[in-house]
Symmetry: C2
Subunit: 345 residues, 2 copies
Amino acid sequence: MELSERKQKILGAIVELYIKTGEPVGSKSLLSELDMSVSSATVRNEMAELSALGLLEQPHTSAGRIPTNEGYRYYVDNLMVDRQVDESLRRRIEAGFGSGISDPEKLLERAGEVLADLTGCAAVSTTPSGEGAYIRRVEAVPVGTRTAMIVLMTSTGVIKSKVARSDFDLNASVLESFYNVVKASFVGKLLSEVDTPMMQTLVASMGGDVFTLLPLITAVSDLAQEAVHTEVMLGGQSNILHHNNYYGNTAYELLEFLRRGEPLSKLLSTATEGKDVDVKIGSENPYRQLMKSSVIVSNYNIDGNRRGSIGIIGPTRIDYANLIPSVKYLTDLVGELLTQTFKEE
Amino acid sequence: MELSERKQKILGAIVELYIKTGEPVGSKSLLSELDMSVSSATVRNEMAELSALGLLEQPHTSAGRIPTNEGYRYYVDNLMVDRQVDESLRRRIEAGFGSGISDPEKLLERAGEVLADLTGCAAVSTTPSGEGAYIRRVEAVPVGTRTAMIVLMTSTGVIKSKVARSDFDLNASVLESFYNVVKASFVGKLLSEVDTPMMQTLVASMGGDVFTLLPLITAVSDLAQEAVHTEVMLGGQSNILHHNNYYGNTAYELLEFLRRGEPLSKLLSTATEGKDVDVKIGSENPYRQLMKSSVIVSNYNIDGNRRGSIGIIGPTRIDYANLIPSVKYLTDLVGELLTQTFKEE
DNA sequence: AGTTAGCACTCAAAACCAAAGAGTGCTAAA
DNA sequence: TTTAGCACTCTTTGGTTTTGAGTGCTAACT
């Protein structure tokens, strides 16, 4: 869509003013913000044309204009200039991560909280995906005569642990055969390879040990499943209430939607294929509950591989120019931290 | 405070009706709910006296009555009959805990979610306190030449892990001396004994090993700190919006308050000294933000020792008769599960 | 005594109405 | 193409009235 330079200027100003104030902007109040050597009538004509193009709309006939989703889209794609993430903000972000959080889950949770505080939006983050990760190590730590804590560590540094209880004593020889099985069949395997068929053939091939070892082996498999499954974390829910007005009265519905991890996880994973930062505006979102919200998502990479996402959810009149760079900055930082902490040396 | 039988009946009915409808109850509507062979005027007289006693109040002169905090208190202490937790509810609770969650943190988080869903309130739960718990086991699992994952397990089954990185290679002899130090100075110690002075004397006594071992030892100490510190978890925040009306317009403030763990944690720990289930009504709560809320808390025991709490937060017109037993039932169940899973055999 | 019918009174909430004001679209002149 | 002017629209605001549930009090009744 080609727009005259003046139309672009007007559209941009309307979007930014509306984002700032939340009030529909009329021709007069627009002129007082913008120094243009034209009259309000001229602006009105331009605004009428922008409405005809579907970029602006009116809540009712005698009100000012607000951007449509398409209006925001045009703004984000063509008009917006990314604000730099300024020094003080950077410091706040970095201060947000206390000294060395090494657990990736904790780190991501923290990242979500920091982002929520910073942006005044709800924030979501996913733990590093187990896709492509392999099992680096498995340990069985006896805690009783018949119980052991199974600890699994992945190549991405995720740790999962679980208590396994057997009907037989877990003496040294049992543990030894456990480690043999682990070494032969688990260590080095991709997490995604540990599935039901794999387990079935493994069990079938185990012979007599199966009764003593089964609970332990099952625990390992459970942990692998857990580790491959990325977890979605949510922070800053209360911020949604701040935007209450702009969400209509559906704040509750939105909160309920965000509580359910699955749709969110899908949302995050389908977003940002290739792109740097993905912005979905209002009805561009695939879920009914997000029709009045905008979502800004970016990926973080560990060692160059896309491993998870961090994003924020706010009203469609979210401050794109400032927040898109913030999200980007944070995800890059998280990626660096995780890469650094878990680089094999 | 002594009340005539009729006053008790009236007070009880008002409380229950108001809890059900949320509307101030007047003399007429009360009579239609209650079969009493007296006229509305008589009821009015009684209500006026109950108001004089501070048990009822009126939002404005020409409205019905609602219970004061003292009114609720009298109801809870004297009038209420606990409803039995019926079979179907029990099944829902038990179904809420999928098969064997062995990680106590996960279990408590789940318990909070279950309770929130069940009661329609926000729910809080604390992880088992490390008070009185000792270090059962420490493992160092090398993950690179200079990094190791330190895993600490407590006597209450809590697992904490963390990556430690050293400036020196972590070969077998380093690990051996690490295990020696651990065995001598950590295993069997109470978590609370691992504090700064203890670490200082330990480091002072270590001699030459200190440079290679310090990062590992520090990690152990960090983990002990983490483990002794109970974590507060919050679930069902969105339920608060359902009660929005009854909280006034301060839903946001309440949510913000609940986000901060410290005051909550204090609240839970000071509550229920000795008692079975503790109920704090409105201004009985020590925090301004909870003045319009009621809190129902109960403790769970592991192996007979009080280890943590689970509770719900709702409007003062919460359904005490049903929810108090539910909270009790759930905490008992959680205690049983945790005791069972982590009993030393 | 305790109870009840009756009645005047109160007050929030709903309904109604009027005026204000911001903004528009259109027309006609520059 | 731009602009001044104007009639029109529709929300917002504020004030007034009506309604209705509920009260407290008094006087009669049991």
